[in-house]
């Protein structure tokens, strides 16, 4: 079955059963490996992407159900042209192992789009689905506040 999918502004035809989660189309078909597999049950947030600007766990969205254009970490910015939030991540030296950070950044970007100046409580509420076993939470929080300030200017 061929399913058409728009990812980071590019249209793709993916030859996979419709029940396959978006995550595995991104990683194994489109080679967009920035989006990570962590748990497969929406409990860790490593696979977070945006569909129509909404943060979703791509391990839980069947290909046939993808309802809009998909943005992954690769579509947010590149090493030579980072998004404001990615620059904030670099400025605060957030990542340790880095495996969860694509998901953290996609979740944080969606938070800032909705809530340009989030409070600590709003950050807690938005980010608690994203697990980080290295414990980078304090720097994630600082980077989100910093990105909010930078985006305001």
């Amino acid at each position: 079955m061929t399913i058409s999918l728009t990812v980071n502004g590019t249209e793709h035809a993916v030859d996979l059963p419709g029940e396959v989660p978006l995550l595995w189309a991104l990683r194994d078909e489109l080679n967009l490996t920035g989006t990570k597999y962590g748990c497969g049950v929406a409990a860790c947030g490593a696979c977070t992407v945006q569909i129509d600007g909404q943060p979703v766990r791509s391990c839980q969205v069947a290909l046939a159900d993808v309802w809009g254009p998909v943005t992954t970490i690769e579509g947010l910015g590149t090493p030579d042209a980072m998004a404001v939030i990615q620059q904030a991540w670099v400025d605060h030296q957030v990542a340790q192992c880095g495996y969860c950070q694509s998901g953290q950044i996609m979740q944080a970007a969606a938070l800032l789009a909705e809530t340009p100046e989030p409070t600590d409580d709003e950050i807690d509420a938005a980010m608690q689905g994203n697990l980080c076993r290295c414990g980078t939470y304090p720097r994630i929080r600082a980077a989100i506040h910093d990105a909010a300030r930078a985006m305001k200017v």
Partner: protein
């Protein structure tokens, strides 16, 4: 004894070798007969290359793997400090498996001596033990030892490279090398003429490297400063390549299902339905389980689930009760070790009040964010392996055996690791990938474990029991007698990794307890090995992850029994025994504004552990809210001797603490019929954004020796949280995880 003092402190020399279009600099050990892991470096069979300069520029070969701890960055800074290259111009790659990259410092830590007591003799013995690391072929990233190992070697490599390049330039300019200076990868003459390192590299290969003194710390430009991590942009843009991200041409994907009942095989299976499923290419059986190869990882996982398998039962005890009964039998029995035995620990001193407590800790999974995976291509006479791992030589050896090739026929590419925490020193996941690849000759295969496979096939932090007896008098501890029982990671992993079981006292079982810097007149710690064979392994901070909760919680109990302030109680017993440790306690006292008193609804606890050479004190604050108890604040003080990168040290301290808090609050693996009951993060949760405390870190530098930071932040977090909960509720925390007895916010 007198001979020991005469042995040179430096046990290595710096050499060079010509490579295509350039030069390699590295360390070699005289008369050690090691082979050169860089095949194209000719002429020097014992060279251990750290720095390559060729047409591509300056490349650093990092002998240690990056699992998040920042090691690549600081290794680069050590070389750059002496070499005078711009930060952004250094490329860092991970070294191929090579015996010459063995970890000297980690094996130096195996002696049964408390780290804080190491004097010159113990240090020499430690160096001798370090050579065991070479004999055992261990290029291991672990034991918080990377920086201690690299501190001199990497700087010497950089300094020697610089001076050799200057000699090459001196010939070209017809000047003395001492007239030249170096800057940003260039040698510059007084008249302004300059040559780049790249231009000079081929000529430098012809020059014998001089012996060079290192720059004093006062002249450091990079070291001691927070450098931008070399992996940060990649990891913020989704472009870093982890093991799970390698995509060789023609890659197919595989999933694994192994008997969850440890020690059990497979009596039969039916893959009729699975074979018909979309994308499925091959189903392979191992005797203990199956792997499915498909066009997509998810299709492979679905088909693996669809295979009907008859599992054998497990030889392990059927219940948690039986497992812990076995640990209790060990606790009651004769000790394997008595590594501390001061005074008379068998007698309660006259007039002292007795304190007794028992502690129980569960088995724990590593639960790295990136599930176990590896990618392999088998061609018939060669195996290429891509694997995020902490021990490439071991992975190569065991993969070679699994597919019937010589180790030299196996190429290991060590990728970034999405967390290691000790799990990726094991080689099982690489071996499974190699075995699948052998069945798919000519086609690269990526084998990814589901989270469930990962969590149920770990080498767990062993569960353990502790029985402590102490006595206090006049506000001080006069007796501390602790018994600690658990499975021995060292014995089991030693047998698995090296092929032999180490005998004698198991230091790793009691580290974090026997080696604490307290002056207590009657003081004994015994270790008791439980004769269970559940798979156990090294988990961030190893023995201290188990023992620090027992030992430090008990110190806290004694403080309260003595009517003393728990922080001051520790401080008074420590200040004359080990001043740098006491200074950490004093620092958290000041940082937290510790008064020993807390208002209603707030609790504070202090925790301390000296591990891997680094003392760490923590104060944790908990708060009773309407929704439950919140871990609201934390203060950390540590002393790793020399701070090579403050930002990385801070990150490791906070991360280590959070890893410990996750275990203390929520972490537990239980076994039923020899299979782990917990499958995924909903069963095995961790600290998250809303449950992480606001944390402040202070790094002290009074310790005389450079020591590690990756692990020491973990152990004290567990007792500090338990002690804080006691302060809040009056209820003693003697069993982990704490969410079973306290209403913690999840």
């Amino acid at each position: 004894m007198s001979r020991i003092g005469k042995i040179a402190r430096r046990t290595f020399l710096v050499g060079s070798a010509a490579i295509a279009g350039g030069v390699a600099f590295g360390v070699y050990y005289a008369n050690k007969g090691m082979t050169n892991p860089l095949q194209h470096a000719k002429g020097e069979t014992t060279l251990n290359p750290y720095v390559l300069i060729d047409a591509q520029g300056v490349t650093l070969i990092a002998p240690r793997a990056e699992m998040g701890q920042g090691t690549r960055t600081t290794l680069a800074a050590l070389v750059a400090e002496e070499l005078d290259v711009a930060w952004e111009d250094i490329r860092v790659i991970h070294g191929p498996p090579g015996q010459a990259y063995y970890n000297h410092a980690m094996f130096g830590g195996i002696l049964p001596v408390a780290e804080y007591k190491k004097g010159p003799v113990a240090e020499h013995l430690g160096q001798m033990a370090g050579y065991l690391g070479k004999a055992l072929q261990t290029q291991i990233t672990g034991g918080s030892s990377s920086m201690a190992d690299a501190f001199e070697k990497m700087r010497h490599a950089g300094a020697t490279a610089r001076e050799t390049l200057k000699l090459a330039a001196a010939k070209r300019f017809d000047l003395n090398a001492s007239d030249l200076r170096t800057e940003n990868g260039t040698v510059i003459a007084p008249d302004g003429r300059s040559l780049t390192y790249v231009e000079l590299a081929p000529a430098a290969a012809e020059i014998a490297p001089p012996d060079v003194d290192l720059r004093p710390a006062t002249e450091w430009k990079y070291l001691g400063k927070s450098m931008p991590r070399v992996d940060m942009v990649e990891k913020s843009t989704g472009t870093a390549t982890f093991g799970i991200d390698v995509r060789p041409e023609g890659l197919v994907y595989a999933a694994l299902r192994i008997n969850p009942h440890f020690g059990g095989g497979m009596t039969g299976f039916d893959d009729t339905e699975a074979r018909k499923m979309p994308g499925v290419q091959k189903i392979i059986h191992f005797g203990t389980g199956i792997a499915v190869v498909a066009s997509n990882t998810w299709l492979a996982m679905k088909a693996a689930e669809a295979v009907e398998i008859d599992w054998e039962t497990s030889p392990h005890p059927a219940t948690q009760e039986a497992i812990f009964a076995s640990i209790r039998t060990a606790l009651d029995g004769a000790p394997n070790s008595t590594l501390r035995d001061d005074g008379d620990a068998g007698t309660v001193p006259e007039g002292a009040s007795l304190v007794e407590a028992e502690y129980s800790l569960p088995y724990l999974a590593h639960a790295a964010m990136e599930p176990m995976n590896a990618t392999a291509l088998y061609t018939g006479d060669e195996l290429i392996l891509w694997s995020g791992n902490q021990a490439p030589i071991l992975h190569r050896k065991h993969c070679a055996e699994a597919v019937g090739l010589a180790p030299e026929a196996v190429t290991v590419h060590t990728t970034y690791m999405g967390g290691g925490f000790g799990r990726r020193g094991e080689y099982d996941y690489s071996v499974y990938a190699a075995r699948v690849a052998k069945e798919m000759k000519g086609t690269p295969v990526q084998l990814t474990w589901s989270r469930e496979e990962d969590m149920t096939h770990d080498f767990y932090r062993p569960g353990g029991l502790g029985r402590f007896r102490g006595a206090v008098k006049d506000g001080k501890a006069v007796l501390l007698d602790g018994r600690i029982a658990a499975q021995s990671c060292l014995r089991q992993a030693g047998a698995r990794m090296m092929g032999f079981e180490s005998g004698g006292p198991d230091k790793a079982l009691v580290e974090g307890a026997f080696d604490q810097p307290y002056r207590i007149p009657n003081h004994r710690i015994t270790g008791h090995i439980a004769e269970l064979t559940l798979p156990v392994g090294f988990w961030r901070s190893v023995g201290a992850s188990l023992t620090a909760f027992m030992y430090d919680s008990f110190i806290d109990e004694m403080a309260h029994a003595a009517g003393a302030d728990p922080l001051d109680f520790r401080y008074q017993m420590m200040k004359d025994e080990h001043a740098p440790s006491a200074a950490c306690l004093a620092a958290v006292r000041e940082m937290s504004g510790w008064t020993g008193k807390t208002p209603e609804g707030i609790g504070r606890g202090v925790g301390f552990c000296h591990s891997f050479g680094t003392p760490v004190a923590q104060v944790i604050e908990v708060e009773q809210t309407a929704g439950g108890i919140r871990i609201s604040k934390a203060w950390i003080a540590c002393d790793p001797g020399i701070v090579l990168d403050p930002s990385i040290v801070e990150a490791q301290m906070i991360g280590g603490m959070i890893y410990g808090l996750s275990a203390a609050a929520f972490g537990e693996i239980t076994f039923t019929n020899g299979a782990a009951d917990q499958q995924n993060f909903p069963d095995y949760d961790a600290i998250r954004m809303h449950t992480a405390p606001k944390t402040e870190v202070r790094v002290l530098t009074a310790n005389p020796r450079l020591s590690g930071v990756g692990e020491p932040g973990t152990p004290p977090a567990m007792p500090a949280l338990g002690n804080a909960l006691f302060d809040l509720t009056g209820q003693r925390a003697r069993a982990l995880p704490l969410n079973k007895s306290f209403d913690l916010i999840v």
